[in-house]
């Protein structure tokens, strides 16, 4: 019998790299060798940004949370802290995210729906009451209205007696990715970048431990980008922010060490781990070669990972518990600083206390039982992972260069080119999912006859909006209107004079000016973004 050898099916990962059935040392050498591996805590940081990583301190556990009014959210924060969570990650409702007051007609039906509602400093005070802001660092998932929310957070901390020059915390404040995915933009592209630079400059001078920007590949990936595009576009965006901060006369070492990143985690385990290892080395190289920092910490890729709602399925939701456990494993193997693990019901609704606790326990099991916090970068030296790390890094460089050759990320976002690339990629993936070419358990294989879903929906309480508007009106009634008007006038004057508006916004939030009032003042000067519709 001369039967042909059965041919193995071809495997190509999402980044377009063909995966071999076996890897050896030859593959590592052929893909670029071992030069970029190095040691953790040292350039090029491929193995991690700290020498001992989780052995010294496990990742910060920072579940995304917030809904209803600030009191509801304060209760959830305390529940999470009581269950061992070590950081907070604040979800704002959509009106707060795009600079509308709760009583704005456009906010109807949206107040407190997908996050907590914040109109004034008074809300920030309630949300964090009884929480020690030195022990628990707070990350604000806020972009369009980030100048206002950062100011409210710092003002709240100052009022409680914290020294803001020592205060740690993070704001997402990555507006360029909002134009690509997620969509909570307010101002035109150039003005938006100017405001990011204002926050970077203000924090460098007044709150140097605070991370004013967390550059997000996350939402670009969730909008359909592949893992290479996710990292490449995020780095293009980070460079745009760095360039605008340097143009203010800041020194790279004054702020680069406080830049952080937010990345997605769903997908193939090895591809994801290689993605992060590749990205750390690439980012260090970019900062070193383009910006010549003196401090090594300016080159470290500090990141949050663990979210990956885009990888969860609506079908058979319990399978998502398993998926998120793997996401946590991937994040830990990838050396993330912070994990915000998605909850299994996130394809449906705001996580319940029950599902949020399962996510927390998932991370705690990895630390306490599975040994993920025992040694640094445990997959290093694997022929497969090192080869893939080299290949992913090369692909990221190519994707970044392509953006630069086309005129740069700012131009391409303003024109809608990046958005069109991402949605085209999303459509390709959707077609592969429909055809079954790309497998998704419960969706295109191993389906079961749909039974009544077991997921408990987070109820939207319409009366929360009424209560929030009442409390906004009460704040308006007791504040000094003349003071508010003067503060708003100063914001407008500073914006027209093209100086940093953060000091004026800080002053305004302390008079209990609302997010809507401050945003309208800025819109008077900058105008509003108009979305390019391009396919």
């Amino acid at each position: 019998m001369t039967a042909e050898k059965p041919s193995l099916r071809r495997v190509i990962n999402e980044s377009g790299i063909e995966i071999k059935p076996l890897y050896t040392q030859d593959d590592v050498i052929a893909s670029g060798g071992t030069e970029m591996i190095g040691l953790p805590g040292e350039y090029p940081f491929t193995r991690g940004i700290h020498p001992t990583m989780y052995r010294k301190q496990p990742w910060t556990m920072r579940q995304y949370a917030g809904f209803g009014n600030p009191q509801d959210t304060n209760n959830r924060f305390k529940f999470l802290i009581d269950n061992g969570q070590t950081g907070l990650n604040v979800a704002f409702d959509l009106p707060s995210q795009i600079g509308l007051d709760s009583d704005d007609p456009a906010a109807e039906g949206e107040v407190g729906r997908v996050g907590m509602s914040v109109d004034t400093l008074a809300d920030m005070e309630i949300a964090f009451a009884g929480i020690d802001l030195e022990k628990i660092t707070v990350s604000l998932t806020i972009n369009g209205s980030a100048t206002v929310m950062i100011a409210m957070y710092l003002a709240m901390a100052e009022k409680r007696g914290y020294d803001i020059s020592k205060l740690r915390g993070t704001a997402q404040n990555d507006i360029l990715k909002e134009f690509i995915g997620r969509g909570t933009w307010i101002f035109p592209v150039d003005a938006s970048i100017k405001l990011v630079a204002d926050t970077v400059e203000y924090c460098a001078k007044h709150a140097p431990k605070y991370s004013p920007v967390s550059v997000c590949g996350y939402h670009i990936r969730d909008s359909g980008a592949d893992p290479v595009q996710e990292m490449a576009y995020a780095f293009n965006i980070a460079c745009a922010y760095i360039d605008s901060a340097l143009a203010r006369g800041l020194d790279i070492d004054e702020f680069a060490g406080r830049l952080s990143f937010n990345f997605n985690i769903f997908g193939n385990l090895f591809e994801q781990v290689a993605k992060f290892r590749a990205a750390r080395g690439l980012w260090a190289k970019i900062v070193k070669e383009r910006y010549h920092p003196k401090k090594p910490s300016s080159m470290g890729l500090r990141m949050i990972a663990g979210g990956g709602g885009g990888g969860l399925t609506f079908e058979q939701p319990e399978n998502n518990i398993v998926r998120t456990a793997y996401y946590a494993l991937i994040s830990a193997l990838s050396g993330t600083q912070t994990m915000a693990l998605c909850s299994y019901d996130e394809a449906y609704t705001i996580p319940t206390e029950y599902s949020a606790r399962i996510s927390l326990r998932t991370m705690q099991i990895l630390i306490e039982e599975m040994g993920l916090a025992d040694t640094v970068d445990p997959l290093a030296g694997s022929y497969y992972v090192e080869t893939l790390t080299n290949q992913m890094r090369q692909k990221m460089v190519e994707a970044m260069d392509d953006v630069d050759a086309r005129g740069g990320i700012v131009k391409l976002v303003a024109e809608g080119w990046i958005q069109a690339q991402v949605s085209s990629q999303a459509y390709n993936m959707a077609k592969k999912l429909e055809s079954g070419e790309f497998r998704k358990v419960g969706f295109n294989c191993y389906r079961v006859e749909e039974e009544e879903k077991q997921v408990e929906f987070h109820p939207y309480d319409e009366s929360d909006a009424r209560r929030q508007i009442d409390s906004l009106n009460a704040v308006r009634a007791r504040r000094d209107k003349a003071q508010v008007d003067a503060a708003l006038a100063r914001i407008e004057a500073d914006a027209r004079a093209e100086v940093n508006v953060m000091p004026a916004i800080m002053e305004a939030v302390k008079t209990y000016a609302t997010v809507g009032e401050i945003t309208k003042t800025l819109v008077n000067v900058y105008g509003r973004y108009r979305e390019p519709i391009r396919f």
């Binding site: 949206e110 729906r113 909002e178 995915g181 997620r182 609506f314 949605s423 396919f535």
Partner: protein, 133 residues
């Protein structure tokens, strides 16, 4: 078949303040590939804007893409506007993150087709072809 040479015109709108447009844009591409003429509104559409776009573009189908939970109040308002603006006979469909308990309510409001997460492109396309008036 009463189809003329004219392509079926579909409006895809992203209602409310939510900016997650992955689903909307993917459906736009799928419907274009399936031979429809598609007009996409972009984000942050109010019921008034959707209604005005539908009238102006003379569409046969009004499609909404909703992710963040505000579909019921939005559709209630749009239903009234559609009636007042002579759009009552248009095919009205919605897709996205739509909890099962809301489906009956959406039908009561006047939605003809409901395509929750996981719906197939081909099913959306054939639903439109079979039901458009």
């Amino acid at each position: 078949m009463t189809q003329s040479d004219r392509k079926i015109r579909v409006l895809i709108a992203k209602p409310g303040l939510d900016g997650h447009d992955h689903g909307a844009k993917v459906v736009v591409r799928a419907l274009v590939d399936a031979g429809f003429e598609v007009i996409y509104t972009g984000l942050r559409q109010t019921p008034e804007m959707v209604c005005a776009a539908a009238v102006e573009e003379g569409v046969d189908v009004i499609g909404l893409s909703s992710m963040a939970g505000s579909h019921l109040p939005f559709c209630r308002k749009l239903a009234v506007l559609m009636k007042d603006n002579g759009l009552k006979d248009k095919l009205w469909i919605i897709g996205g993150n739509l909890p099962a308990p809301d489906h009956a309510v959406l039908r009561e409001i006047g939605l003809h087709g409901i395509f929750p997460t996981g719906a197939k492109f081909a099913d959306i396309a054939s639903f439109i072809r079979e039901n458009v008036r």
